[in-house]
């Protein structure tokens, strides 16, 4: 089972690749839109890449509730368990 930090780090790689955000900025308490300047189109890509990377499904109605990096990590951990 990957640790929370491992999931965060993998997600940070994805956010970096999609939206150019430095990996160290992608911390659990950060809001995608307000802190990391990630727009809705990038979120579509990030969610898609996360589904592929972590082998989980993140339907649109769930994705719209993932406001912070922590929300996304927690969702991925629950979905992968």
């Amino acid at each position: 089972m990957p640790t929370t930090e491992e999931v965060r780090a993998d997600l940070a790689e994805i956010v970096n690749e999609v939206a150019g955000v430095p990996v160290n900025d992608v911390q659990l308490d950060k809001s995608f839109t307000d802190d990391l300047d990630v727009d809705s189109l990038s979120m579509v890509e990030i969610i898609y890449a996360a589904e592929e990377k972590f082998g989980v499904s993140i339907p649109d109605e769930e994705a719209k509730n993932l406001k912070t990096v922590g929300d996304a990590v927690a969702y991925i951990e629950r979905a992968a368990a």
Binding site: E17, D39, S40, L41, V44, E45, Y48, D60
Partner: protein
Amino acid sequence: MTLRLTAGEKYAAILGLGGYRPRRVVDNAEICTMIDSSDEWIRTRSGIIERRWASPDETIQMMSIAAARKALDRAGIEAGQIDTVIVSTVTHFHQTPAVATTIASELGAKSAAAFDISAACAGFCYATAMADSFIRSGASRYVLIIGVERLSDMIQQTQPWNAALAWDPVAYQATQGDANWPTLKMEGNPVFKWASYTMAKTAAEALDAAGVRAEDLDVFAPHQANMRITDAMFRALKLPSGVVVARDIARQGNTSAASIPLAIEALLESGEAHQGQTCLIIGFGAGLVYAGQVIILP
């Protein structure tokens, strides 16, 4: 009894390509006088810096003929040799006769078969497939295909997505707008996802069908719906960094059926792409419809 079959060609080749761009340039600042948006928002969400609006004299017919004459000239073909004219458009607001018939007549392809198709932003690729089929079946020898639009005729100019994207017609449905015509609307994010990923898979199938690997591809010219879609598709296809990518949307906006040929023309004219190179094209649009091919550039 068995009927005699027409004998076709083994291959179909694209001999020449030409485009026409309306005179009037409309930049994001002007768009932002009509909708509540910003140059920054439009550029980052779509990649569009400016687009062209057709003036009243720049009709579907006029633009098609101007572009066709350029293509014929570059192909070294006389209009009289054309035996088939296919026009792909969703903005010719007459049921019949097809605009292809008046275009053929005015060009001087007076005995050509001529018809219109309606396949939104997939139209140019649909027409390419048809031209290829007609030539290889022996039905036609020289086919003129035209992708042409006057999308400003069917857009509600006060709607942010549509106005800013100049006139992204990747719509699920036409709705009754303020104008007398139905106007388009689109659900941006779901369509972005479909275009970026599902269409990337279709594009990969086209590469496979042509026997071209990603690492062998020279040029990528998808329908110019949105720069973000182009980038996402590029990543999803895992194209190598040396592949030339069409980015005409920055200066032209989304021109539906015309976007692929205009984008290719821009690359050829700038020298970024060359005759003989392999080029992956894929169109996708309202319907939802889609088609893609690998072509050799003229």
